[in-house]
């Protein structure tokens, strides 16, 4: 028993001890009166403190108003300390939770926490962005209310989470998401959302590449085999034979150029950085114009717009072949009577080589994939025009090796502009 309690008890006993002789020696009622009055006083004192505690307990605050008198002081003090400790603990815990949430926000993958009814408990900003959620308004909402794609709904209801779900996001621009659902703490679920757009694109390019190489080589091979079979089995006259052989050699040349381009591409990819010879651009632009005129055979107007200054550092054969490719494409895909412009501008901030045509143009959706190997806008057309489907892939690689960017702008029916932008470090003589 604490000393303050003993003191409170002693006070009551003291009142009795004083009251007794009064009652015994003077008159009994005086003793009783004294005893009751002193107990009553104590009672008033305790009641005052009790009322204070009662008031405080409705809205416990940590401040100095919690101060008692006498025996109550200890109790108030301990309550005050208890409340203070509790608040400190809560604050520390809050801080801990805030840190955990901050860690969740820092993840580069999207994270969504779901309760046992698949309702959203938490999601980080990455997930908000990927799935179109807004945690402020969507907390407690079933996740399928917001991510409504049937594949996702079926996956979540299917309860088989051994494989991730690959989802083509409807909200973002053609994003591909990989969604993992991980059960935790009983029936709760954690949804991890990875953005696999890049990987998916690479995968598709690799698959397409193999399929395309096979296809591109098989077509001429089929023709060759067909003619060989015909020649073996049927007697054909000399003229016919000559025609067949011409077609066969045409096809074998085609195969050769595809293989040649493939080899060029792979050698560019694996080669060391290009040497830093100075490439005389004025000379090259002039040569490109002559080549273009020869290829066009007078059907197009070839215009050169050049500052007549500025040269590039790099590998001459690679650059000439890349520029030549752009010019040849422009001539090939511009109907007779059109104009092909060869532009060369160099300044201290860098240089730009561009080819602008008034050709058939390219639909915007094809432009990002144009430099993929064997990517064709229209399967028949470019092969008829004699392309291998690797030209722009080689151009892009050659330019990238010179830290240059290939920029393509095009409007269907109006024309295209292919520009190679070189950084200042590659430009000399300005």
């Amino acid at each position: 028993m604490s000393s303050s309690l003993i003191r409170a008890l002693l006070l009551a006993v003291l009142a009795a001890v004083v009251a007794y002789p009064i009652g015994h020696f003077v008159v009994p009622w005086a003793g009783w009166t004294f005893f009751c009055a002193s107990l009553g006083l104590q009672m008033v004192f305790h009641f005052k403190n009790f009322a204070r505690l009662d008031r405080w307990s409705y809205a416990p605050v940590v401040d100095d108003s919690l101060e008692g008198e006498g025996a109550w002081d200890g109790i108030f003090g301990r309550l005050y300390r208890h409340e203070k400790d509790l608040r400190a603990q809560i604050a520390a815990r809050d801080e801990e939770i805030r840190m955990l949430i901050a860690a969740g926000q820092a993840l580069t993958d999207g994270v969504v926490l779901l309760d046992d009814h698949n309702q959203i408990l938490f999601c980080n900003t990455t997930a908000e962005d990927q799935l179109g959620l807004v945690i402020r308004t969507d907390r407690g909402q079933p996740v399928v209310n917001m991510v409504r794609q049937p594949e996702f709904v079926a996956y979540l209801q299917g309860e088989d989470f051994s494989r991730p779900l690959t989802l083509r996001s409807e909200r973002g621009e053609d994003r591909v998401l990989s969604i993992y659902v991980i059960p935790y703490a009983g029936n709760r679920r954690l949804m991890q959302v990875k953005d696999v757009t890049q990987t998916d694109r690479l995968d598709r390019m690799r698959r397409d590449f193999v399929a395309n190489v096979s296809h591109e080589l098989r077509t001429p091979l089929t023709v060759l085999a067909g003619f060989l079979e015909t020649l073996q089995e049927i007697d054909v006259d000399r003229d016919e034979q000559k025609r067949f052989l011409e077609m066969m050699s045409e096809q074998s040349l085609r195969m050769q150029s595809i293989v040649q381009d493939l080899l060029t591409l792979s050698s560019i990819e694996s080669a060391p950085p290009p040497e830093a010879d100075v490439v005389d651009m004025v000379n090259i632009v002039d040569k490109l114009r002559r080549d273009a005129e020869a290829l066009s055979a007078g059907r197009h107007q070839i215009v050169v717009e050049s500052d007549g200054q500025g040269d590039l550092r790099g590998s001459e054969p690679e650059l000439v072949s890349a520029f030549g490719n752009l010019v040849a494409n422009a001539v090939r895909y511009t109907p007779p009577g059109g104009t092909v412009r060869i532009l060369w501008h160099a300044s201290k901030n860098g240089a730009e080589f561009a080819v602008q045509d008034t050709g058939i143009g390219i639909d915007a959706k094809h432009i990002p994939r144009l430099t993929e190997r064997f990517y064709r806008i229209d399967r028949g057309r470019s092969r008829d025009a004699g392309g291998t489907g690797l030209g722009l892939a080689i151009v892009k690689h050659s330019l990238n090796r010179h830290q240059a960017q290939l920029e393509i702008k095009s409007t269907p029916g109006v024309g295209s502009r292919f520009a190679a932008r070189f950084p200042a470090s590659r430009v000399v003589g300005v």
């Binding site: 969507d138 399928v144 209310n145 917001m146 794609q149 409807e170 639909d363």
Partner: protein, 230 residues
Amino acid sequence: MNESVHLSSQFDEDLSRLRTHVLQMGGLVETQVSAAIDAYATGEIASVKSIVETDRRVNELEKAIDDDCAHIIAKRQPTASDLRLVLGISKIVTDLERAGDEAKKIAKGVRRIYEGGHMPSQYGVGIRHLAEAALSMIRQALDAFARLDTELAKSVIRADTDVDTEFKSIIRQLITHMMEDPRTITTSIDIITIARAIERIGDHAKNVSEQVIYVVDGRDIRHMGKEAAQ
């Protein structure tokens, strides 16, 4: 006492499940519309079949949800906002189902064009833009319903005006094409059907948004002009 608490939470659960079903149906319609647009852009008419198949599921869901609505009204006799929710839902599903039908129309139009050996690419940009706008309207209308967000619903209603304007300009453009070259008439008529269907999808999205405002505010702003959505 205990029993009534239990019943009312059961009721809440019924309503929440009903909403989720509506949104699932909405998800199917969204998929249909976006697949139809893709088919138009890429000419992959293989997806036409799956759009038609999805439509069957949409129809089934429509019937099931209508049935649920009737059950809830009969069994629970909902009042005030609960009643508005149920009434709103029964109208929303009708609009969603029709939007799905329009997507089917687009898909079939695309198949006709490509099977006829034509390429709609020269009208591609305008139509695709219109379609993206309509798709985003239907997506936002469903978001507004899921979040009971009247501001978003109002913005969908306002967006409908843009879609209508764009639709009219596409029609004018097509008329010019047809006058210049009568050979394009067959394709142009198919494209008009598609544009019309897209425009209708926008209208259905607008109707859904109007119902969202009715559910939340109890205000019926149908046929009141776009000022009501300010």
